[in-house]
Amino acid sequence: MDNITQKLMQKSESTKKDSLGRAVSLAALSLIVIVVVSIFAFVMSRGLSTFFHDGVHVKDFLFGSTWNPSVVNPQTKQPYIGALPMILGSFLVTFLAAIVATPFAIGTSLFMTEIAQKRGTKIMQPVIELLVGIPSVVYGFIGLTVVVPFIRSVFGGSGFGILSGTIVLFVMVLPTITSMTVDTLKSVPRHYRESALAIGATRWQMIYKVVLRAATPGILTAIVFGMARAFGEALAVQMVIGNAALMPHNLTSPASTLTSILTMGIGNTVMGSLQNDVLWTLAMILLVMSLVFNLVVRAIGRRGEMK
């Protein structure tokens, strides 16, 4: 009798295993959260030490237009740490690439979902999926051997610059934006299209007035995702933009982005020095921007939920 009571009162073997399994999987999940938190904590603490430890003014950093951290400005006794050229470069290539890529992405996805579903899914879908997976250095290499010489022969100069960066990023984000737009267009209910056609709309009227309107939040999300990818892309851009930390005064002069200066510089500076700290501040800007892109996606999603 006692034996049975004991058995009933105790946790069974499988309950114990269940709690163990639950604990282990929870630990794995927590590990991911810890990684995210510590990435932010460490990069932020290094990035902010430019302002707190080295006493640089935020304004000088964000709006100064001369970048040469190893040289001290004789007037202000501060090194030249104006990050505006890189910030401007990053935003320019990102927005230009998104502006160029969006019509192409929307056109292609309309082709794949509304006009030629069969050919679209058979030929375009696999090609686009493959292109999403192509490593960014390959894009950079193509940019270096095709785009840069082309720009050089057409516009003169070195060929390196914002324009080359934009073209490379355009090709890089095109598959990303397209495949996400295709998914949104596919999720527009079929009866929307049927209703539009039934009241006598042409195919274009149906696409323009119904399908695209219904899919707008999804398309915006796709574009923001593409922009986030372009903003954080490092090596492909670094290979074609010229890496001169100068204010970009035209599209074909050598320029730089946050990521390109970061990848070039971090190995050549000493940990803890001002020259190193300002690079971490650039990394912090990248981090904050990717957070901003995330928030934008969320805001779009919340406002655009289909009722």
Binding site: P103, F104, V127, I134, V137, T145, L174, R203, L235
Partner: protein, 294 residues
């Protein structure tokens, strides 16, 4: 302009746009393959790189890429699996779950340079791992975790709830249901997800230049003791991967045949990614057939 001609014009424009896009994409693939494949030879794929003269290969880089990929997968798969099981099978809706999902989403959208720099700061500098395969593998793990977790979670979510109810009805605990019923049923799509993410990890470079390093010391391929410095298996040696190699020879420009080498290496990268993509679906489908007797 009446509606009908607008419709016609729009159709023509859409055809043109998608034609241009298809042309760009196909031209790109063709460019890499046509430029790269003639450079491929057994010698190119197996011999070590040369810095100042022509005729070097990519043997060590190719080995490093695969070794790093395997290590990164070995570290990230169990973590991602555990996280996905908790998210899909145990977690209830609430603040904790929302925070976790947000964290995963943020991690997946972080620029890979930043992930690499974090790895550099923590593992290379603080923990004194130096530029090493281990640091690289951990950085790749951070980069890979969110995507892998999400893809495994989707695979688990696709298993109908009927299966879970059946498990409970048989008196199995939740964990037993997951291990004996849900996971086997989800294996095919989990494998597809793992292979697809492997393709992404294989081509990653930005997270590696400051963690696994940019040098490829000579290896002794007869020495398989992981504690020897020249052994290919030693996880503490610096290891330049194929993708990093392409970036480095192009930005340094001291190798006389850098163009040919990077064309060849790019072709190898694309072919490997292509193989991963194709095999992902094939292996998944075959496993499904085998495991479900369907």
């Amino acid at each position: 302009m009446n509606a009908k001609s607008a419709d016609k014009i729009a159709t023509v424009v859409i055809y043109m746009i998608s034609g241009i896009v298809a042309l760009i994409l196909i031209a790109m693939l063709a460019f890499i393959l046509i430029r790269g494949v003639p450079n491929l030879s057994w010698h190119f794929l197996t011999s070590p790189a040369r810095a100042f003269e022509a005729g070097g290969g990519i043997g060590i880089q190719l080995f490093n890429s695969f070794y790093l990929l395997i290590l990164a997968m070995l570290i990230s798969f169990p973590i991602a699996l555990g996280a996905a099981i908790y998210l899909n099978e145990y977690s209830k809706k609430g603040r904790f779950t929302t925070i976790v999902r947000t964290a995963i989403e943020i991690l997946s959208s972080l620029p890979s340079v930043v992930v690499g720099l974090f790895g550099f700061l923590i593992f290379v500098v603080q923990f004194h791992f130096g530029f090493s395969i281990l640091s690289g593998a951990i950085a790749l793990t951070f980069f890979n975790l969110p995507l892998l977790t999400r893809s495994i979670e989707t695979s688990l979510a696709q298993i109908p709830n009927l299966q879970r109810e059946a498990g409970s009805a048989l008196g199995l605990s939740r964990w037993e249901t997951v291990i004996h019923i849900i996971l086997p049923a989800a294996v095919p799509s989990i494998v597809t997800g793992v292979v697809l993410s492997a393709g992404r990890v294989f081509g990653e470079a930005a997270a590696l230049i400051y963690t696994a390093g940019q040098s490829a010391p000579a290896l002794n391929f007869t020495d398989w003791n992981p504690f020897n410095i020249s052994s290919p298996l030693n996880p503490m040696r610096p290891a330049e991967t194929l993708a990093v190699h392409i970036w480095k020879i192009n930005s340094e420009g001291i190798m006389p045949d850098a163009n040919a080498v990077s064309a060849g290496a790019s072709a190898v990268l694309i072919i490997v990614v292509l193989l991963f993509n194709l095999s992902a679906r094939k292996i998944g489908a075959q496993l499904y057939k085998k495991l479900t007797s369907a």
